[in-house]
Assembly symmetry: C2
Homo-oligomer: 189 residues x 2
DNA sequence: ACCTGAACACCGTTCAAGT
DNA sequence: ACCTGAACACCGTTCAAGT
């Protein structure tokens, strides 16, 4: 129950903030108000602190978002995927979609540069592995994964769309399967 | 050669700005500095005017972007597409991709709501029609178009990606064809 | 070491006034 | 009718100072 700000033998002022506390508060703002309201200034207010205090625990806003996404992904339970390779690709892509759907701000963070976290590698690797088991060469598998990833990003980014009806989960799955099957059958061509 | 600000019989102060002039200046900023520098304030400076003068000719920044994209699309020459339906789908998607690649800020405008311009309908319709000619039902064709559109948006949004090598035009085409063939063959399933 | 306050260089937009 | 200036309510970030 040793609180960090009472730890003895440390020089200087005891910290009032911590990376942990900042991330918790940021997640709260994200949940309660949405990503468009998460600013360094808003976050400082949430913590009854000043914007600049944050910069002592986090390099900049981009790093903060990266850390938030990282923590979010880490909280996700690792589902066990089906044995059949094709089903595994579909399930993996579906999982990736679901993760990002619950975390719309994350798409932007991932789509932009900088994010090099390894906390989501398992799912990427699981998809690529399954693609190889489906018969694709490693190079083709990576590329096929890339196409799948682009479709997911597009699906999540191009939200409203001209057809005002959001597609049902079933429709989405059919679309996803079509894309995956197309990528798989290109191998044999 | 009748300049609008000398047109007789009009009441009030002659206009110094016009929607046309604003769009031209905005396009110049876009070309020379990039979309991230196009602000109402920057644009007003470009026109030696004040930010608020712009709001007399344009409802807000979103409308400005919409008008810019509209003008951009209108300038594109209408290519003639191949006869074979499948090739037509591929060519249409390719064209859509190329248009947006030269116009990265447009992706965001299109991905967000509001844009209801009809200046790009011809290309969308051409793709949907070709999909129907390929044997898809009208409903399936619209949905297939949606999937293709999402892939394009994703491809353009998820720019850098973990594989640091940007795919070649050939690779991209292969990916696109795989997606399209997947969508087409789902029909017969 | 950790935090504060003021400042810099921006945003989009509203409101009241000027010609 | 068209434009201006000041103001509102924001941004992310740097810099110098305080304890």
């Amino acid at each position: 129950m040793q609180s960090p700000n009472t730890r003895p033998g440390r020089l200087g002022r005891p910290p009032r903030l911590s990376r942990e506390a900042i991330l918790v508060a940021a997640q709260r703002v994200l949940d309660e108000e949405g990503a468009e309201y998460l600013s360094m200034r808003r976050l400082a207010r949430e913590l009854s602190s000043t914007p600049m205090a944050l910069y002592h625990h986090v390099r900049d806003k981009d790093e903060l978002l990266m850390l938030l996404l990282d923590a979010y992904v880490r909280r996700i339970p690792r589902p066990d995927f089906p044995d059949h390779p094709r089903e595994r690709v579909v399930a993996g892509a579906q999982a990736l979609h679901d993760i990002l759907e619950d975390c719309p701000w994350g798409v932007e963070v991932l789509a932009s540069d900088r994010f090099v976290s390894t906390s989501a590698t398992w799912i990427v690797e699981s998809i690529v592995d399954a693609l190889v088991l489906c018969g694709l060469s490693p190079g083709d598998a990576v590329y096929a994964y890339r196409v799948i990833w682009c479709c997911l990003v597009g699906e999540l980014t191009a939200r409203p769309f001209r057809a005002r009806t959001t597609p049902s989960a079933d429709e989405r799955r059919r679309g996803l399967e079509a894309v995956i099957d197309g990528l798989l059958s290109q191998n044999t061509a």
